[in-house]
Symmetry: C2
């Protein structure tokens, strides 16, 4: 296909759009690939659309190759199936809801677990029909509170979602692995760097879950990895639990007056002053943080989290573990006199205590650990309060922040923290959706069994941003060959008719050979502007036809490496083809 | 690509779905191509999706070939641009509206004139940038009151919409013609019969408009055509206006008592009885029909339409000519004493009359025509009331029904009526949208001129239904090669392992040659069921590998013609390829 700059619907801009926060957004907008159309909504211009369709094609080829079958659902979906699984409510403000002219409720699908489950239930009934993997490449909708970073977080986006259906856990494991492998091939072909991290199941419930994150400083997700190969989403990191300490011979707890110790720092200062040899640090204290949980049925409950004083509660980790309950600030101290603000101690807490307030502790709180903590009296703390002897708890909770240097749970060394963007997600859903929507098949013995499912997603429009983000340089976009909107950018410079004739002839020869060529045929644009545009637009190979033509040479340039070479006009097409096809 | 029936996500059904009104819906559902997902919303199963994508590809190729450039807009659109053109209100209940979490208004795009206009305004500013044609292939939304006929009228559907931008009328004419020609190529390639009919501009305003209708008895649109080549949408038919008759010497009007003549038939009976030689028929009477117009600003107005008594008002024609006003029943006779129910006569009507009520007449009412009509008194009619002498009117209106046998307006003979489905629409919008949204460019003289636009649509998902509707037979679907989900259906019958081996080998050989093959490899399904499924699924070429194999022959069948021939196993692939490639 031949694209000519004189007619192509594109305008390159000198200035960054005011609302562009990240390089990919800046460059895609400046190079005329996308244009903002609505809050969190972008229009794909011809070049951008070509990249998106290339990404789509790669995703489709790999899904087909693994045996998944493509279908396509409406985006406008009825309320009932989402009501049956509870997600109509759980999604809260995050989905778009609307009514039709008759007042019936609909939503714009953010993801389609319910619909796929019902479709399979509708058509299939036997273990012989399984395994089955279905997918679609579709426009999805989420009412994001804060659309950001251009194509990275929009309210309308293109996603490949697939769903696997198996009769048993072993089958589900195979389907999961097949998707995981297909995803590695997809991201490899897209030229995207990625880390596969363990992930919490989050809103979905289910058993096993991994995310494909592309490391980037502009990423919204924090993940951890160790030199030994461990990688996880921060929400999924589990704490290395210390061994319990025998209780015998441990010192007795003792209450101390600790006026004016409103913070951990001031408390530690007093403790160190009073007991200089004890080696107290913030990690010696146990702070008890009160939050309020709002359950899906609307009821609220106070929850106290006990954790070492040198760590904060990580809001995302907390949200992930308490889901589907939501976390709210706790303010109603008046209704709970057992909670002495600033001096809350474990001895007043727990389901079995007089207060009845649920008390969960960080996994580092094991029997025999001794703590400085609140004494449930204003101005007093208790020292050497010993876990398992002086206080108990209702369970542990993974809510404390993860820090660089923490040990990896699998013993593979200290963790480092990095930022990334989620590009893909593989998820063993288990039987949650099948149970809610009654998807059963007959097994080999003629018995009805509930199907086990997986759900899997790739951010297709997001991948365009991620590729731009990870490959661009200071001059502009740098597309990998697999997704570039054109294989070659032919630039004709000067005013000499012979130059334009040669450039067009070369372009047409390359098109005839099967390439897509972007030919800059603009007659009155200066060479400088044309070169700048070529760098900004980012085709992988740039051929300049200009002054050298009188000497029988063209310039061939590799956009990514910047390497240039002169090639003879005679046989130029073959040389360009060789460069393109590697 | 190889599709195997044993794993393909498809279930053929013996029975028609209860809600299927038309053959295409019945067969697409029974053959497992589509499945109802919501009111007016369908899921595309793997075979249906393949057909849709083939249609899409053909549309895309022809749009690219005519020089249109593909872009892609969000479907979720902000209210403001639609407010600026008045369509936010005009669409009434026919669009889906929703609010985001902040309460901002959005709609789901039914068509994108506003957004394309704004995009071009955003990027372009000179006559040198034009002409420009942009298109998208996109999911559209309309809140249809009565989704019907399967894929023919849904609330979520795939459409190719394009928009042309020109600096002057001559350019717009060229863009219009280019689209019109591309559409003929598209429908030719899809194998769809079509008639190009003149169409009213309807809700859009604008100057020239044609529809591509596929004739089918299940069509919602009535159109007319003459043997001499005239074709028009019923809304667009203009009446052949008779010559006026000199007023001199015409008889004087005379009022007659006509009790008990509540209908045209009873009135004509009385007239014939009283004046047996006058040759009175229903066409001699002038009936005056009152309706109420509701204007977009909310105000209401009575309107009287005078038309020959042998014709009814055609609701669609009336709606088209009064748009954007809406037609409501008129009931408030009490407020308008000039309107004597059942005996309304022209002498009480007209903007200049005492009543001030607007009076429009059928174009057949020309000066000198004489009429039997109401005398504005209960039980009385006036005879020989002569147009242009005894009464006047405010203008003419094309609201009377069109009947078979009426003359074509271009003199090409009598009209016949037929039913069809709109598959495409080409539309010279003119400057309405450009003016509302201020799209101007500098012309050659440096003067700002308003751009003239066209809008053009092809129903992509509807085309799948139309093809199925026009090609099916009593056994099932019959796909044209251009859109068939597979080129060949290979059926292996019996239990002989050699049969399955040969069938698979042939299938794989055909796939290697570039075909898509659907191979019925199901081991325990009877030949009868397999043959029935092959007829129902409708691949253009069916190859049966069965009993004949021991004699070295296969059967090759053409689904459309039913022709069968035996072909030798040796060289079978070449014979099949020859059949497929014609």
């Amino acid at each position: 296909m031949l694209l000519t700059m004189s007619t192509l619907f594109v305008r390159t801009l000198r200035d960054d759009p005011a609302d562009a926060e990240v390089p990919s957004h800046r460059l895609l907008a400046r190079a005329g690939y996308i244009r903002r159309a609505a809050p969190g909504g972008f229009t794909w211009l011809p070049l951008g659309w070509r990249v998106l369709r290339n990404v789509e094609r790669i995703v489709r080829e790999e899904m087909d190759a693994m045996g998944a079958q493509e279908v396509h659902f409406p985006a406008l979906l009825p309320r009932e199936p989402y009501e049956a699984t509870g997600r109509w409510t759980e999604y809260g403000d995050n989905i778009f809801r609307l009514k039709d002219r008759k007042g019936a409720d609909f939503l714009l699908g953010p993801t389609h677990e319910e619909m796929f489950t019902l479709l399979v239930k509708d058509l299939y009934g036997s273990y012989k029909d399984l395994p089955l993997s279905l997918y679609q490449i579709q426009t999805k909708y989420r009412d994001e509170a804060r659309p950001r970073a251009g194509l990275f977080r929009t309210r309308e986006f293109v996603m490949k979602d697939s769903y696997s259906f198996d009769v048993d856990d072993a089958g589900q494991e195979r389907s999961y692995t097949a998707h995981r492998e297909a995803y590695t091939r997809i991201f490899d072909r897209l030229g995207l760097d990625y880390v596969i991290v363990s992930a919490m199941s989050g809103a979905m419930g289910g058993s096993r879950s991994e995310e494909f994150l592309t490391p980037t400083p502009i990423g919204e997700d924090t993940f951890v990895r160790s030199a030994g190969g461990y990688a996880a989403n921060v929400e999924a990191v589990t704490t290395v639990v210390p061994d319990p300490i025998p209780l015998e011979g441990l010192p007795a707890a003792h209450v101390e007056d600790t006026p004016d110790t409103p913070t951990i720092d001031t408390l530690v200062a007093v403790a160190v002053e009073r007991f200089p040899d004890a080696g107290y640090t913030a990690a010696s204290t146990l702070k008890n943080v009160v939050v309020q949980l709002r359950h899906p049925d609307g009821t609220a409950e106070p929850l106290v989290i006990g954790l070492p004083g040198d760590r904060e509660v990580d809001a995302k980790r907390l949200e992930a573990v308490v889901h589907p309950a939501e976390v709210e600030p706790f303010t109603d101290f008046a209704a709970h006199p057992a909670l002495v603000k600033g001096y809350i101690g474990p001895q007043a807490l727990g389901s079995d205590s007089a207060s009845g307030i649920r008390y969960l502790v960080d996994p580092r709180v094991v029997p025999g650990t001794r703590w400085i903590t609140g004494a449930n009296e204003p101005g007093k703390h208790v020292f050497d309060l010993t876990a398992g002897r002086d206080f108990t708890w209702d369970g542990t909770i993974e809510a404390a922040e993860v820090r660089a240097g923490d040990p990896a749970p699998d013993g593979s060394g200290p963790l480092e923290l990095a930022r990334g963007v989620e590009m893909g997600h593989v998820f063993a859903l288990g039987r949650k959706f099948a149970e809610a929507l009654d998807l059963k098949v007959l097994d080999e013995n003629g018995k009805l069994v509930t199907v086990t499912m997986g759900s899997y997603g790739v951010g297709v429009s997001r991948a365009v941003a991620a590729i731009a983000e990870s490959t661009h340089d200071e001059l502009g976009l740098v597309w990998p060959r697999a997704v570039a909107p054109a294989d070659v950018h032919v630039v004709a410079t000067g005013k000499d008719a012979a130059v334009f004739e040669a450039a067009r002839a070369l372009s047409e020869e390359l098109v005839a050979a099967g390439l897509t060529v972007l030919y800059d045929d603009r007659p009155k644009v200066s060479p400088g502007v044309k070169f700048k545009d070529a760098e900004l637009l980012g085709m992988p190979t740039i051929v300049t036809v200009g002054r050298g033509l009188v000497d029988g040479v063209l310039e061939l340039r590799d956009r990514a490496t910047g390497e240039r070479e002169e090639i003879p006009v005679d046989g130029a097409a073959a040389a360009v083809l060789a460069a393109v096809r590697g």
